[in-house]
Amino acid sequence: MAAVELLPSDFFYGKKMNFKARTFKPYFLPLVAVIFLVTCGCENEKAVRCNKPIAAFQKELLDVAFATASAIPVKPHIKSRSKAQQAVVDTCLELDQPALAATYIEKIEDWRGGLCYANLAYYYANSDCKKQARHYLKLAEQIAGEDHGLQWRNNRIRAVIVKTQNKLGQTVRADKSYKALADINNPDIAGAEAKVGAETSFEGQIKSLEGLIETGVYEMIELSFQIYARLFDRFYDDPNRRSLTEEKIKTNWRKIPVSARIELLSDMADSAVEHSDPNKALELINEAQLLLDGSKWRLEHRIKFMSKLGEKRFRAGDTEKARSDIDAAVALFDNQKSEIVNIYRAQALRSIGRTYQVMGDTRASLSIYKRAVEEGVENPNSRPRAEDLSATCCSMALYAVEPDAELWARIRQISGGLGQPW
């Protein structure tokens, strides 16, 4: 029976548009959909208490990814272990698998469990599933109240809690939580995050952002550009404001890393594609390409950005150059991989594999993912091996790249073979 190829354009999700090419058996989707409708749904009809349908292999990849992450010993590697576990949970949420995510989160033993609960609560709040959101919010609050050694860990959980409370309309609680968070540094900003101003304040925003940049404080500058990018998206259909925002970005961005500038341009290109403006998207991508070509990088970073821009270019419609760029990334890896420390090789390959899949070339994608799996075991220690295998499985699940029998066997062999030295 032939598989049905669903094109990337069928799977645009949200602002970031993490589209995923998926290959399912034709009987699979209706069957899962029926099961989903019978068994799922919370008090709201749009609820996503249960997992949305994904292919069995995706679920299996997620399970392997989580099991592999969980194989990392708590002592001394609890931070590495939890971080890898969190990455699986994040992937679950991207794939609309909240129930599966919840089962994984229970096994996370440090502050990241709280962060994951908060993220899950936010996911449910966004899905208008308030009961579930409240439930996981409570669990997140409990962990946020514990001592995790360094305050920023608690703060990261609390930040998502505030965001979720606002989403749920719990304004009083949100204000209180926000104040607790804000008190850490300054009480005067309490409640500020809830203030979503009117369009008329655009000029004031621009002025304030310039003030932030003038401080010369790196975090302030980085924050400013994040906000600029959102302004660009928000006012895309207002040519004057959009071009003013773009001008401000490019006037001031000397103070941020080139990598951050490329990310900025990529986000802006996404906005252009979202607003059906492929020419502008390509203009931005070409500009990012110039930045990439004009700077020296660690090879794994260069390959990552080559892949990213290839993906953006493909989505903007320049499929031919996108393909040649990503092929060039493979050649670069082949020719110079000895320059990449072995623990960073698999991540470079994952970015390529993902892009091939986005471009619809599943065979090339699978081939690259196989190489990523092998490169991930070059280091003699199981911690980086586990981190790489888990990340590769997540990436394949997210982008719906089904391992063949040979790769499944290898994945299981590596996962099962983890052990000393860690």
Partner: protein, 570 residues
Amino acid sequence: MKKFAVLLIAIMGIVVSIADVSIAEVGTNVNANISGSAHWTKTGSPYHLKQQIYVLPGATLTIDAGVVVASYVADQGSLAVCRGAQIFVNGTKCEPVIMTSAEDVATWAGSSVRRGDPNNTVVEIIGMGDPKSGVWREGCNEWGNLTIMGDALISASHYGGVPVGTNTKCPDGTNQKQMEGLTDPVNGMYGGDNDDDDSGEIHYLSIRYGGKVVGLANELNGLSLGGIGRNTEIDHVEIMNNVDDGIEIWGGTVCLSHINIWNVGDDSFDVDEGWRGSTKYGLIVQGYSINASQGSGVGDNCIETDGAEDSDAQPVTTAAVSNYTIIGQPWQSGGNGGDHGTAWRDNARVQYTNCIWMDLGEKLVAFDNTDGDGANGYGYNGTLSWADTWKTSYNQWIGMAQSGINLCGEDLSAIYAQYMCCPADANLACIKDSVFYNNVNAAAYTEADARGVRNPANNNVTASSLPIQAITRGSAVVKGGKTMLPVISINPCAANDAVHSVNQTPDCECFTSSNFRGGFNTCDNWLESWSAVDAYGMLISGQECDKTDFDGDGDTDMRDFADFANGWLM
């Protein structure tokens, strides 16, 4: 007869063997890089670093509580943790991990050593004595150091006025630099684009008598931290008698707590290349490690802060130091005492809160402007001037929030939690809620006053009473042309104006608040039991903490009830 002869030879062999064992070196030699993760235990202790040892990317070195790493002078041993590798130093208050020289071990009660070349140094540790004993000696440079390299952002576009490789001022997210004293062009690099990087954990580690460079013609700091990310945990670390700086941090976002730095030969705490972290609870005691020039044996600045290389590069040092007790060298005659409390260079921004600054040889605030290696100073290329740095709020964006300007739907709180590391309501550079005592240099407060440090709003106190419980100095000695009054014993717990601060130190990205000045409250001397200062008998005991004295101010009152209630209600 023949059988008897064989038996005799065999018995003699056994006797020789036993003799060999009885005089054999104890411990474990480490003579190769660590590529597969390693675990150092008390059974294998002491460990001898026989050369520059790298913990290679992907590998983890775990060191158990109570382990001693003692290297021989002749071996030039040193330990470096590469980018992508991790170290876990699992010392405890009762059983710290000690990284030192065999010369130090030789002073411990019960130690047995054999001496030889070069210069009658220890060449074998035959029996290791009590790590909680020993004698302070004039000495350093007896082994290397602990260097950790990470993947967080650094600002290293220039050095010595010339560009570093292809690094940029922005930076490009991939700035990296070769670590001082290391020669390996791959494994000796630090810096990257991951501020959340995790190089492991260090708890209760005493580093002594080090600084000997292995590969290049420069000195090593006691603890070198290059591009270390905020997921790395460092607390209860001591540097005693190093030839160069005590701790130097280049870039990154790591936070440190409970730091004790004594008698190092250069700056006690040195920061450069855009460190964006914080440190809380510390004791710095300036002095000397050997009779050599200032900077190579005699202490220089207590805290030296460089912003970025160059001054208009990013990231720039934007850090917070709170609850430190900083004790300088006060000799004044002939201008031959210690150096400054704080030295500021290349656009550095540091917020000092709830500290004690006492016995400083020169200035509380020294405006160096540049680091003297060709970089430009404050105000260069549109950066804030020196004066404006002391007037500009870290949190100018508060104004934006208060005026109700929207953030395009962006969740400010999320960004706030992820990017802030300093007290937001303070200015980029400040010294607040601190005690100044016995800083008698004619220019001690000149620059500080010009920056408004002693304005009433800053809640600083220029005290007439000792802000710690006890300090004893030895007779004046001249070292490296400077007159030193070595601290020979101390009880650093808070006294007088240090017992209560006006405000609590703000909760920061890393640490919770406290309500006293200096590194210690009135009764909790966190140096006890694990530090060289205690082992060498330099710590004077003080009062025990009352179980109901929650804030450690020496009495039980409404503040304690408030602390208790807060904790209970949380």
